[in-house]
């Protein structure tokens, strides 16, 4: 009994931070209809600012190139009240900036662009703090006493848990009253229902939205400051608290503050209990069952709420970027493949490694082209699926001794099975809610399977034997020489084949069906398209391609480790695919070039900036920023921008100024923009 209370209280702290982040998510959603995935990252950012002020007496500046810190003349740290005020002021600024620079320009953008942008903020904030403070755990002095308050039986209940719970309850009630009774709250609710009518009544939805974002940031910031001392402060820890927070907001159907907070607190306590179970029950999985719980809550909540077909008038969201059919191309892919092969035989090991990383990244981006570009599903767990293939490969090749072509094939099929399982909720849930499911699924699989030594060999990972084709050793490294040309060529050839297949798909009946489902599920069903089957096919194919990436990662590392497949890698992979161009094969290739450790960043970091230790954080900063800019300025990504530029150039060359004669491709874009302008 005492244990029960102790562990529930342990969980109460995480429940409280999830609740405070969730309150911010709800406030932001009410103000502008955006689910902000970066809400946890905001809490983390403010917590770091507080830590820096309180402990180091400095104010951290996030922008690389500028001095890292402003010294405030207090080498032993500022006093608590000043640190709190400065931290919360930072939260206010952050809220205003998010509104003005990101969410306001995206008011009428499709869900994908909004998710992409908020994920961009998440990556950016996370990378900024990792860049300044590193990824080690920091200890933050607590604002509230953690010493024993009163005891129940043998259990001592610390004050901080009590205060946190009270804070959550007071804020929930306060927000409820604010939105229920105040003029501000009523006008926000009115604007959410009918923006035009609210404008006609003289309200400014824009100002309301900015106020909501400020409020949301303040809530997250307060949560960060209060909870950082209890849980360990790292750039990723608080950032990922967005997952239980989203689970709770889903249960509350994106509306009720009270239901959300109660769910978050109960969820936190249940997670606390689950952390205790492995020590009590020998058969209980040693790790991750506490992280599995939010995911199960998400799935059950969404499945109960979701609908197998969207109802009348639900399709009023903005369009996804266009996915154009291209004429069959053989020359360009053949030339690109040949160039890559030549590069493998001529370049130094560093470039070859970067090229291998790019090829692997291109596989993942291709899988996202199928999943998001064609089928219209936002997926935030692609690297998790790749990871499943990697671990299955390790098990099959090492433990069971199954030889080369068969073992990776089976591993990819294993990834496909997991992808199909994730497709089941996608039958009833779409848009942002589905993005939440995939995020939760990725996190749960990572914590439950990848981190469980019983399944995967834990931190030590699992060995993967080298590839042998007809007695030929096609290993990634021989002796000290890494990124062997033969390995690279094998990867490039498989990539070329898969890319050709995806290109073909867009011009085929199945590809048209994918796009029909992406555009309008109801109309697709009425036109005789089996929507469920198309979703299973799309998820299955995308997962298989992600599986190929996972297998190559496994062969490259020879020791499969969880860090390549963690959920934040999945998230930044979506960022890169989106920047490259999520709707085309050429976009996936550009995405590959841009991916982590790939050819573009190798050039930038090693050749231009000269080898730096925090290259990974710089990459994340650039891709986070790039993602936000892409979402706002250029939704078709680099590949789309290149296509449009090419068309414009061709027309200029052929017909003189573009105003003289408009070709069809330009017309195809113009009316859409006009319509969006009318809406705006």
């Amino acid at each position: 009994m005492t244990d029960l209370i102790v562990f529930a209280l342990l969980g109460l702290a995480t429940g409280a931070i999830a609740a405070l982040i969730g309150l911010g998510v709800l406030v932001g959603y009410r103000g502008s209809g955006v689910i902000n995935f970066a809400q946890g990252a905001v809490a983390m950012y403010i917590a770091y600012v507080f830590y820096s002020l309180r402990v180091l007496g400095t104010y951290p500046l996030p922008i690389p190139g500028l001095p890292g810190f402003i010294h405030l003349g207090a080498p032993n740290g500022l006093s608590a009240p000043i640190a709190v005020v400065l931290s919360l002021a930072t939260a206010v600024v952050l809220g205003v900036l998010m509104h003005l620079l990101v969410f306001r320009p995206l008011r009428h953008a499709p869900a994908l662009a909004k998710v992409a942008a908020s994920v961009g903020i998440m990556i950016l904030l996370q990378a900024a703090m990792a860049f300044r403070f590193g990824t080690n755990t920091q200890t933050v002095p607590s604002l509230i006493p953690s010493s024993g308050a009163f005891s129940v039986g043998h259990a001592i209940i610390p004050w901080d848990r009590v205060i946190l719970t009270v804070v959550v309850i007071v804020l929930s009630v306060g927000l409820w009253a604010l939105f229920r009774y105040s003029r501000f709250g009523l006008s926000v609710r009115g604007a959410a229902e009918n923006e035009k009518a609210a404008i006609l009544l003289g309200f400014s939805p824009d100002r309301q939205a900015s106020l909501n974002w400020v409020l949301a940031s303040l809530l997250a910031g307060l949560g960060g400051i209060l909870v950082a001392p209890i849980i360990n402060l790292t750039p990723t820890g608080l950032t990922l608290e967005i997952i239980p927070a989203l689970a709770a907001t889903l249960v509350a159907r994106f509306s009720s503050f009270g239901v959300m907070s109660a769910t978050a607190l109960v969820l936190g306590m249940a997670q606390g209990e689950l952390q205790n179970l492995p020590s009590k029950l020998s058969w209980w999985p040693s790790t991750g069952s506490d992280q599995l719980l939010p995911f199960l809550v998400i799935v059950v909540a969404l499945f109960l709420v979701g609908n197998s077909l969207p109802s009348r008038g639900a399709a009023s969201e903005g369009r996804l970027p266009a996915a154009h059919a291209t004429r069959p191309q053989f020359v360009l892919p053949a030339v690109a493949t040949a160039i890559a092969v030549v590069m493998f035989f001529t370049l130094s090991a560093g470039y070859r490694l970067a090229l291998v990383n790019s090829v692997i990244g291109a596989f993942v981006c291709l899988s996202l082209v199928v999943m998001t570009g064609f089928l219209g599903t936002i997926a935030l767990c692609q690297m998790t699926i790749a990871g499943v293939a990697a671990y299955v490969l390790a098990a099959l090749a090492q433990r069971a001794g199954i030889p080369f072509p068969l073992s990776p094939l089976l591993a990819c099929l294993g990834a496909t099975v997991v992808g199909l399982a994730i497709a089941i909720p996608a039958l009833r849930v779409r848009g942002i809610s589905l993005a939440v499911i995939t995020l939760g699924a990725g996190w749960a699989i990572e914590e439950f399977f990848f981190n469980n030594p019983t399944y995967t060999g834990g931190v030590n990972g699992t060995n993967v034997p080298a590839i042998h084709i007809l007695g030929l050793n096609v290993a990634f490294s021989k002796g000290s020489e890494i990124a062997q040309p033969a390995f690279g060529v094998l990867a490039v050839i498989i990539l070329a084949l898969i890319a050709l297949g995806v290109m073909n798909l867009r011009r085929s009946p199945t590809g048209r069906r994918f796009l029909a489902v992406r555009g309008n599920e109801r109309a697709a069903a009425a036109a005789g398209v089996d929507v469920k089957r198309m979703k299973f096919l799309g998820f299955g194919l995308a997962s298989f391609i992600a599986g190929i990436a996972g297998c190559f990662v496994a062969y490259q590392q020879t020791l499969v480790s969880q860090s390549s497949f963690d959920i934040l890698v999945s998230v930044s992979v979506l960022a890169i695919a989106y920047i490259g161009g999520i709707t085309s094969v050429s976009g996936a290739m550009i995405g590959g070039a841009l991916s982590t450790g790939g050819i573009v960043f190798y050039f930038l970091l090693v050749v231009v900036l000269g080898n730096r230790s925090n290259g990974l954080e710089i990459e994340d900063l650039i891709s986070g920023l790039g993602l936000i800019l892409t979402a706002i300025l250029n939704p078709e990504g680099i590949a789309g921008a290149m296509r449009i530029t090419k068309q414009t150039l061709m027309r200029r060359l052929r017909f003189g100024p573009p105003s003289a004669r408009g070709g069809v491709p330009v017309l195809a874009k113009a009316p859409v923009q006009d319509r969006e302008r009318e809406l705006a």
Partner: protein, 272 residues
């Protein structure tokens, strides 16, 4: 001979609201049957129920089969297709591709075949079928355009063409003439007759009474989800109960729906 479509006691409920209540309706092969009623009478809900887009109870017998429990795409494949009140084209696909989606059939391993040989499954006769469906709505020259480049009226016609491309037995049309001017509406009426001559039956929901009285062989009148009247067009047109439901007063001798402005019925009367 049994009718092509027969519903028995078809009922649609949304939560506590009964949108359609126990409607018996049948469509004979080769007929154009009109389904009219004031705004909110349950016409679109009835079509939603037929096409599987709304949960319903009661029976839907179509071409000798019971369709009531089948998912939407299976009903479409059985030959019962629909068009939409708001225009629901696939915005990412060209007009031709919109019609191709409706024509093409799924098969085992189609994903693999399509990735390797995308042209292999190009169906025989699809080009002709697309051309003739577009001809029926007078939109042959729009094949390579994208929906966003089309006018509202053109988009409606492409929606009808897409339904026709599925080679249906029965097309349920939800306000296809809304937004057409009287000249366009007359032309659309003659197109509907051409469609019927190709062996396709039509269930027509529209507020354009000129069109409805002109082309329909039979009329059903819905009011508050309940069937108010049913019979040959001329009989229903002069039914006092129907006139009352539409105009909101007991029919004096002069009032006849035929004399009302062709598109104004929903605006002039009906219970709000």
């Amino acid at each position: 001979m049994s009718p092509l479509l027969a519903t028995m006691a078809l009922t649609v409920r949304y939560g506590g609201v009964v949108a359609v209540s126990g409607v018996d309706l049948s469509v004979e092969e080769g007929h154009i049957v009109g389904l009219i009623g004031p705004n909110g009478a349950g016409k679109t809900s009835f079509i939603d129920a037929l096409s599987g887009m709304a949960p319903s109870s009661g029976t839907i017998r179509f071409d000798g089969q019971d369709l009531g429990k089948r998912p939407p795409h299976r009903r479409a494949k059985a030959g019962l297709v629909r068009t939409w009140q708001s225009i629901e084209l696939f915005e990412d696909l060209s007009v031709r591709e919109n019609l191709q989606v409706a024509l093409e059939r799924e098969s085992a391993f189609d994903l693999l075949v399509d990735m390797v040989l995308p042209r292999l499954r190009r169906g025989a006769g699809h080009e002709e079928a697309i051309a003739s469906a577009l001809d029926l709505v007078g939109a042959r020259d729009l094949a390579d355009r994208y929906p966003s480049e089309l006018s509202q009226g053109q988009r409606k016609m492409i929606g009808v063409a897409r339904a026709l491309a599925q080679r249906p037995r029965l097309v349920c049309m939800d306000e296809p003439a809304a937004g057409l001017d009287s000249e366009e509406s007359r032309r659309f009426g003659s197109r509907l007759r051409q469609i019927v001559q190709q062996g396709i039956s039509i269930l027509l929901v529209d507020h354009d009474m000129g069109l409805v009285f002109d082309v329909c062989d039979e009329l059903y009148v819905l009011n508050f989800g309940v069937l108010l009247a049913h019979g040959p067009t001329s009989a229903v047109r002069d039914d006092p109960a129907v006139i009352e439901a539409y105009l909101g007063r007991s029919g004096d001798d002069e009032a006849s729906l035929a004399e009302s402005p062709s598109d104004g019925l929903s605006a002039t009367g009906g219970p709000e």
